[in-house]
């Protein structure tokens, strides 16, 4: 059954629909006929058109509702109550009403009716009577007076009446439905919505009226400035609730829906509410307002005034941020919701200063850029990145355009409080690149500067900086002249001790002052040249053999120990005392230790390690698009907290080795990063022109120092990790264990990274010896096995040819590379590894192979004395034909664990070295060998 309320609702809709049609034909259509004569009327017309459209929509919805009601009334049994549009589509109906109200109030504030009506005032005078009749029919008191208010009234009256009736009828409809019925809920909901609409409407009308009333009180200039946009409404006026503003001065404060306006004479100060933060002050009478550039406080006459203002401003800010008015209207809630402190907005700074005319777009907090954002200056400069308290802080990319060309200086850096601090990469428009650490915006600490290849004086500097200048130990490469300077710098100039290597390979150590060489301590180049020239002459002169008794053989050259200085000169090493190895690369270790001492804070990880970008291509892309796809440290598995968590879990020797191996190969790990940087410095120093044999000593001690430092770095991290876990710290280890760990554990892991450069230096240093040695090898390889064994005085019973019955001829021709094959093959494996310890183990295995072969030949275990072993070893070494054996031997000896000194490995290495020496020196003797063995 249908209730009477439903019938009344239908009637209501019918009446309203008719009223709307009436208004349309009577008011809106004639108004829209107005000819736009000036800007104002044009604007009015636009607003009226919008009103017309929303009125049409309203009419359509009413019709729909009417239709649904009629259906229901005609077929009460088949059509349920819930099919009414008013119930199931209450939100839609409501929305249409709100829209109508908005456009209506817009027209009202802009006095559009008055404006439009003015033009055809005669027409409206005639229509006045009709309108008044219409209004009277709608139940309103008739209005006397101007056309404007009548029009205003005629457009509003039917609506307010209609909504009021809605609420009334819906409520009584609700009462007719029994409790718990599902449709009752719908009806109550709709009634509440329309009830809210009523208050919303009245508030909107109040605001509109207040705004409309405000305009005449302002000067026309101010009005023109403030009346846009059309939906601007006055929310609070200091004339109603007086406040004084300090430190800014203002006669009047106006709070609009979208902005806060301070008026001082003719001066208008407008603040966008989206960037206004309200901080209720300590004092009950004042209210602090924060904006991007201003900070002021409102002082009310009494606490009530302060509360009213605070409430209004807070609400306005919140609504401005939401972009719409509250619905339902906020009542006198004691605790209204606060607007969020962090917002995302764009703003252009006006005040003179660093940020003048710059536009910031991004996250804000309490009036300051805070979080991610982009800052753009009108001159093209821009900064994308993290901000804190209004300053660049954290990772950021800064682009600075170059005056002349379409090029940018690109700084990809870490910033602290507005200046570059920590690791950064700067690509300058000129093509120069700096990668390294900064402090307070200047290059400071370790860094690599490389000028563009096209630069007039291409150069590269790898080393220490101080306040933007090259200072401290560093490597300078002059690509044009092919010069390589290794040494001390000061104020961008070579200053102090330094080693200069030229492209020709001449190398000297000297003292520099202000980029000039002051004293060539030893003109080593000349000295060396002289020595090289004299060397053949010296070696040709018959040395008195220390064994005159051995005159069976002609005296061999260099048989006796050479006078020491002669021996040393070609191997002279430079820079050894000049640059103490402990402090040589302290700029590389410095940031790491600062980081460790600060307890490894996660937010500094990136500033230390540098940001991780997948490829250089991506880095270049980042410059173009002003963004950088970094792997955020907190997301990756390598965040410092995780690293520290894992670190103490691997402390058993095996696990530790595995862990360190992994860590050192991972550039995201602090240790791995250190190693990368050290490799960079090592390559910068010792590759290219720097690959000079006189620098071998410098390089060698540097590698060992790196191993020590990395071990210390690991220990440092371990201590922090243990501290975090609340475990007892490890005791300081004594020097002996440290040396042991460094040589056994770290050095083998480290060596592969430095091996190419280091080995090259050894190669160069032992070039001469190695060439003699390979000559010897070549000569010896001409021998058949038996001849060689014979030549080396290996006792015949040790020859592994017992089981072969061959004629002498066959022996000579066939048995080639057959004897001690297993030992030879074993020894050849020495060059497959870079680890000195593994090389020594190969050597030991080689010996075991010899011993096994000998035991097999003799049919019993035989302990080889040196008298037998050395010739056999020489045989094996000469057959293994390892290139650059001298370099290998010296590298092993330098990198060998010092605890092995005098021990088994030392002995084996010495034995190998003596074989090498013998083969090298035998060369002279071998020249007469063919005659000797053809005469056999």
């Amino acid at each position: 059954m249908c209730s009477s309320e439903e019938a009344s609702l239908l009637r209501l809709e019918e009446v309203f629909s008719a009223a709307l049609a009436h208004i349309n034909s009577l008011v809106l259509q004639p108004l829209l006929l107005t000819e736009p004569s000036d800007a104002w009327t044009r604007e009015c017309l636009q607003l009226l058109q919008q009103l017309h459209q929303s009125s049409q929509r309203l009419w359509k919805v009413t019709e729909e509702s009417r239709h649904s009601l009629r259906e229901r009334l005609h077929h009460p049994d088949s059509v349920g109550l819930e099919s009414l549009l008013l119930l199931h589509g209450a939100e839609r109906v409501l929305q249409v009403h709100i829209e109508y109200i908005e456009s209506y109030t817009n027209c009202m504030v802009a006095r559009a009716f008055q404006g439009a009506a003015k033009q055809r005032s005669a027409h409206w005078r005639d229509q006045r009577k009709v309108l008044q009749q219409f209004l009277w029919a709608m139940g309103s008191v008739s209005l006397e007076g101007a056309v404007g208010p009548v029009l205003v009234q005629s457009l509003r009256q039917p609506l307010t009446h209609h909504v009021q009736q809605y609420v009334f009828l819906l409520l009584s409809l609700g009462d007719t439905i029994r409790e718990n019925h599902p449709t009752r809920k719908l009806v109550v909901h709709a009634a509440t919505l329309f009830g809210n609409l009523q208050s919303f409407m009245s508030q909107a009308l109040d605001e509109a009226m207040a705004t409309e009333a405000l305009w005449p009180t302002l000067s026309s200039r101010l009005r023109d400035e403030l009346c846009n946009p059309a939906d601007r409404r006055l929310l609070q006026d200091s004339r109603d609730i007086p406040v004084t503003v300090s430190p800014l001065r203002a006669d009047r404060v106006l709070l609009f829906r979208d902005s806060l306006v301070l008026l001082q004479g003719h001066h208008v100060h407008t603040f966008d509410l989206k960037l206004v933060w309200v901080d209720p002050g300590q004092d009950r009478d004042t209210l602090h307002v924060l904006t991007p550039e201003e900070e002021f406080s409102f002082c009310a006459k009494n606490p009530q005034g302060q509360v009213a203002w605070q409430r209004k401003v807070t609400q306005a800010v919140r609504q401005a941020l939401c972009g719409k008015k509250d619905f339902p209207v906020m009542g006198a809630d004691p605790e209204p919701p606060e607007p969020p402190a962090c917002r995302c907005e764009a703003y252009t700074f006006q005040v003179e200063g660093r940020l003048c005319q710059a536009t910031y777009e991004g996250e804000w907090c309490w009036g300051r850029p805070h979080g991610k954002g982009t800052l753009k200056w009108p001159d093209g400069r821009s900064h994308v990145g993290n901000f804190s308290q209004g300053l660049e802080h954290g990772f950021g990319i800064c682009l600075v355009p170059q005056a002349a060309e379409d090029k940018f200086d690109c700084y990809k850096c870490h910033w602290r409080e507005g200046s570059m601090c920590g690791y950064g990469i700067c690509e300058y428009g000129t093509g120069d690149v700096y990668k390294g650490y900064f402090q307070e915006g200047l290059r400071h600490g370790f860094g690599v500067f490389e000028s563009a290849r096209t630069a007039s004086q291409p150069c590269k500097y790898t080393g220490h900086w101080e306040l933007g200048q090259r200072s401290g130990y560093g490597i300078g490469e002059d690509r044009d002249r092919g010069e390589h300077y290794i040494g001390m710098w000061q104020a961008d100039q070579r200053h102090g001790l330094g080693v200069l290597v030229t492209q020709a390979g001449v190398c000297y150590q000297s003292c520099f002052q202000a980029d000039k060489m002051v004293a060539l301590s030893v003109p080593l180049c000349l000295f060396l040249l002289l020595l090289e020239l004299l060397r053949p002459a010296l070696s040709a002169s018959p040395n008195p053999s220390p064994f005159p008794g051995s005159s069976v053989r002609p005296p061999r050259a260099q048989a006796g120990p050479c006078p020491p200085q002669f021996h040393l000169c070609p191997h002279r090493q430079l820079g050894l005392g000049a640059f103490p190895v402990e402090s040589r690369w302290r700029g590389v270790y410095g940031p790491f230790w600062d980081f460790v001492q600060a307890g490894c804070p996660g937010d500094q990880q990136e500033a230390l390690l540098g940001f991780h970008v997948q490829s250089s291509k991506e880095l270049r892309k980042s410059q173009e698009y002003l963004c950088c796809e970094r792997t955020p440290p907190e997301d990756s598995t390598d965040s410092i907290a995780d690293l520290l968590e894992q670190l103490p879990q691997h402390r058993e020797p095996g696990a530790l080795q595995q862990y360190l191996k992994k860590a050192l190969s991972n550039s995201l790990h602090p240790l791995g990063k250190l190693l990368r940087t050290l490799m960079l410095t090592f390559q910068a120093t010792y590759s290219g022109v720097g690959a000079n044999k006189h620098l071998q000593g410098l390089a060698q001690e540097e590698v060992k120092q790196h191993a020590r430092e990395l071990w210390a770095a690991y220990r440092g991290l371990l201590q922090v990790a243990l501290q975090r876990r609340g475990q007892a710290l490890e005791e300081d280890e004594d020097a002996e264990t440290r040396d042991l760990q460094v040589h056994r554990l770290v050095l083998p892991l480290l060596l592969p990274s430095f091996y190419p450069e280091l080995f090259t230096l050894y190669l160069l240093l032992h070039e001469r010896e190695d060439s003699l040695y390979s000559q010897g090898i070549t000569c010896l390889s001409l021998f058949p096995d038996t001849r060689l064994l014979e030549f080396l005085d290996v006792q015949k019973h040790l020859w592994p040819l017992k089981d072969l019955t061959l004629t002498t001829n066959q022996r000579d021709s066939l048995v080639r590379d057959k004897c001690f094959l297993s030992a030879i093959e074993c020894l050849q494996k020495m060059i497959t590894t870079v680890d000195p310890r593994e090389k020594l183990e190969v050597l030991e295995r080689t010996y075991r192979e010899i011993e096994a072969t000998v035991s097999r030949v003799l049919g019993q275990e035989h302990k080889l004395p040196m008298d037998d072993l050395l010739p056999l070893l020489i045989y094996v070494v000469s057959r293994a034909r390892i290139q650059h054996l001298g370099a290998e031997i010296h590298l092993i000896r330098d990198m060998m664990d010092p605890t092995h000194t005098g021990g088994l490995y030392d002995f084996l290495l010495t034995a190998l070295e003596s074989c090498y020496e013998h083969i090298r020196k035998e060369d002279m003797q071998l020249h007469r060998v063919p005659s000797r063995w053809t005469a056999w």
Partner: protein, 210 residues
């Protein structure tokens, strides 16, 4: 736990004088629980107590062939002691010994302890080098001298003990003078019959005192 001091000892001498036999005898006579790795008879180790510390001998053999003499400096560099062996039945080997001593004095490590071992003393019938010559020479150069027999294990232990104590003294310079005077006294009072055992005993007591 006594401190272990490593002593690198280098063996010098002609081929066939029995360098490695001496070492083999020295190392094998003693039963060593933890057998340290060796390189045949060319590199061996043995640990013996001496005073209040342990001395670990790292014994490096060298090739005695004349053609390898020039390689010897590599082996004796860094040695604490050198044992120079000659064959008492071969005058030539004693000759070579003198050359080794000369070379060690000139190019060998400073303060190297030299010990002269006249091997094959079991064959004293065919002796070519009188003990007196050896002793005079040793006294002249300040070296330990003993006649040994690797075959019969005579004076092998003593040889190395002597090195041990002399090495010990060499590291404590204030005692060197004392021991030298004692040695002189001994040789003066008993010019020809100074037994090595007796001498070592004295040295040992010196060590005890300090």
């Amino acid at each position: 736990m006594m401190a272990i001091r490593e002593l690198k000892v280098c063996l010098l001498g002609d081929t066939g004088v029995g360098k490695s036999s001496i070492v083999c005898r020295f190392v094998q006579d003693h039963f060593d629980h933890n057998i340290s790795p060796t390189i045949g008879a060319s590199f061996m180790t043995k640990t013996v107590p001496c005073g209040n510390e342990l001395h670990k001998f790292l014994i490096w053999d060298t090739a005695g062939q004349e053609r390898f003499h020039s390689l010897a400096p590599m082996y004796y560099r860094g040695s604490a002691a050198a044992v120079i062996v000659y064959d008492i039945t071969k005058q030539d080997s004693f000759h070579t010994l003198k050359k080794w001593v000369k070379e060690l004095k000139e190019h060998g490590p400073e303060n190297i302890v030299m010990a002269i071992a006249g091997n094959k003393c079991d064959l004293s019938d065919i002796r070519e080098v009188p003990l007196k010559d050896a002793k005079e020479y040793a006294e002249f150069i300040g070296a330990i001298v003993v006649e040994t027999s690797a075959k019969n294990a005579i004076n092998i232990e003593e040889l190395f003990q002597g090195i041990s104590y002399k090495g010990l003294l060499a590291r404590r310079p204030q005692l060197v003078a004392l021991s030298l005077t004692m040695l002189c006294c001994c040789s003066l009072t008993n010019p020809s019959e100074v037994e090595s055992r007796f001498l070592l005993h004295h040295l040992f007591s010196v060590c005890k005192i300090c």
